[in-house]
């Protein structure tokens, strides 16, 4: 059977069971509202444009946060790969920081920047930076020495060698780093918005929860999941696959 067909059958039966269970009042709507209620909440949300404002606001923060974390992460990664001293000092700190979920920085961020946009973006940046750093570092450290030798015999050295050979050779690691950074940033953003201020998907989720609007809570969860899936599967996995193939790392 075709995988798509399998998936359609699978999802249809789950939703059908969920809807029927709700109609037979096997559980209360406040515990688990029915699919139709969720759909209604989503339609209302999009019609009065609150969800659209949320999406725009969340993506703005994500865009700024992810871009900053990729930039800072790449720069730090290059530094760690090139300087042994930096690797032995800053590198250790980054390994430790990477084990800390970035949301725990929020209380400090609120003290430093206030209960605002900047605090959330700060948490998002921290979410993606370190994983990007570590991938960039290993990308540069793992450049095949033969590429460097070949480039040297063709008169390339210094900055030229870095820009034209070392960096492009490390692109597969960069792509993996960016994909992980996106996933970490996305999670950090939702956590940050839940605990901070709006507008934004996470904020609306908490708002709906405070007013007992579980249909909207589930609706927002579904939006978060779908966006995560689309970006990861349709964008990053495709780019990663193309790069791995081109770089001869996968047939």
């Amino acid at each position: 059977m075709h995988p798509t067909l399998k998936r359609i059958i699978f999802f249809t039966s789950i939703i059908a069971f969920w809807e029927i269970g709700s109609r037979l009042e096997l559980w209360l709507p406040i515990i688990l509202p029915s699919p139709t209620m969720v759909l209604d909440a989503l339609v209302t949300g999009f019609e009065d444009k609150t969800l659209i404002y949320d999406l725009v606001a969340s993506f703005k923060r994500l865009g700024v946060g992810l871009a900053l974390s990729l930039l800072i992460g790449s720069a730090l990664g290059v530094l760690l790969a090139k300087s042994k001293t930096a690797d032995e000092t800053i590198g250790t700190v980054i390994l430790a920081l990477q084990a800390v979920p970035s949301i725990v920085w929020l209380p400090l961020a609120i003290m430093w920047f206030g209960m605002n946009e900047t605090s959330v973006i700060f948490v998002v940046v921290l979410g993606g930076t370190f994983v990007m750093t570590l991938n960039m570092r290993s990308g540069i450290k793992n450049v095949h020495p033969l590429y460097i030798k070949a480039a040297q015999t063709m008169g390339s050295r210094g900055w030229d060698l870095f820009v034209r050979v070392i960096f492009p050779a490390s692109i597969p690691h960069v792509v993996t780093g960016a994909r992980l950074a996106w996933a970490f940033c996305w999670r950090a953003l939702m956590a940050g918005e839940l605990l901070s201020t709006g507008p934004g998907l996470g904020y609306t989720l908490r708002f709906a929860s405070d007013f007992g609007n579980m249909a909207l809570v589930i609706g927002v969860m579904i939006i978060i999941g779908i966006i995560g899936y689309i970006v990861d599967q349709l964008i990053f996995q495709r780019v990663e696959k193309t790069v791995l193939k081109r770089w001869g790392l996968e047939s």
Partner: protein, 262 residues
């Protein structure tokens, strides 16, 4: 003399910090336009010697002068072809070949130059292919075109056909011979194949191991193409085998000794 290699020594430190002699007393003179093979069993330091001429490896002592210039670092006057093609996978064939030309000429000039050499290795129809789309033999031809495109006086080749199958190798021998006749490059060609060295070169430098030294300098005076001189080639092969036999035995007995120790 075009290439003068004088008293080259190369030592490495092994893991217990004991010096290990890789090359000892290497003296070699090569004339402009000569095709010289450096032949020896694995571990004789022939690749290290080529790498020193390329400027990629520093000798412990001694000096190398190419075209009246002392070698201290890699340079575009010496094109190098490695055993693996070492093409950049993110660039297509054309971009790979124009890689060394970017700084010194316009894009148009570089592409014309690249086309000329890609035609020489019969790859004009693959300008926009990426390395992973080419066979090993084709990749190696691109690598040769890339080295030639810099228009170096010297071509350094480190077992360039070692990873290819017999048929492809034999075809590339023919192509390399043609290229050499057309371009008049000075070629230093490292190989462990006796027949390959006899087929291609004017002179064969036979090296021995532990430490790496030059055992013999053999002139090959057969007219080209040499396929028709099978008997003469065989005689030279046996002659060289006489020198190499001892060396190969040495390598084998040492490997056996190492194997029994572990």
């Amino acid at each position: 003399m075009f290439i003068e290699i004088t008293d080259i020594q190369k030592q490495y430190l092994d893991k217990d910090n004991n010096p290990l002699n890789v090359l000892t007393d290497i003296n070699l003179k090569v004339e402009k336009g000569e095709f010289v093979s450096i032949l020896g069993p694995s571990g004789c330091g022939k690749s290290t010697l080529l790498s020193i001429v390329a400027g990629l490896t520093k000798a412990t002592s001694g000096e190398i002068v190419v075209n009246n210039q002392k070698i201290t670092k890699p340079g575009k006057d010496r094109g190098m072809v490695f055993q693996q093609a070492a093409l950049f996978p993110w660039l297509n064939v054309m971009e790979n070949v124009t890689f060394p030309l970017k700084k010194e000429m316009s894009k148009k000039q570089a592409e014309d130059q690249a086309k000329k050499y890609l035609q020489m290795v019969q790859l004009s129809n693959y300008l926009h292919h990426y390395p992973h789309e080419l066979s090993g033999g084709m990749q190696q031809r691109v690598a040769i075109a890339r080295a030639l495109a810099m228009n170096p006086d010297t071509l350094l080749m480190d077992e360039p056909f070692g990873a290819l199958d017999e048929q492809t190798r034999s075809r590339l021998h023919g192509q390399l011979e043609t290229i050499w006749t057309e371009t008049k490059k000075t070629i230093l060609f490292v190989t462990h194949s006796i027949s390959e060295s006899i087929k291609l070169s004017d002179r064969i430098i036979v090296m021995g191991t532990k430490p790496g030294t030059i055992l013999q300098d053999i002139q090959v005076d057969l007219p080209r193409p040499r396929e028709q001189y099978k008997k003469e080639m065989l005689e030279i092969e046996e002659h060289i085998m006489g020198y190499l036999k001892k060396e190969i035995d040495k390598v084998v007995s040492e490997e056996l000794a190492n194997a029994s120790n572990t």
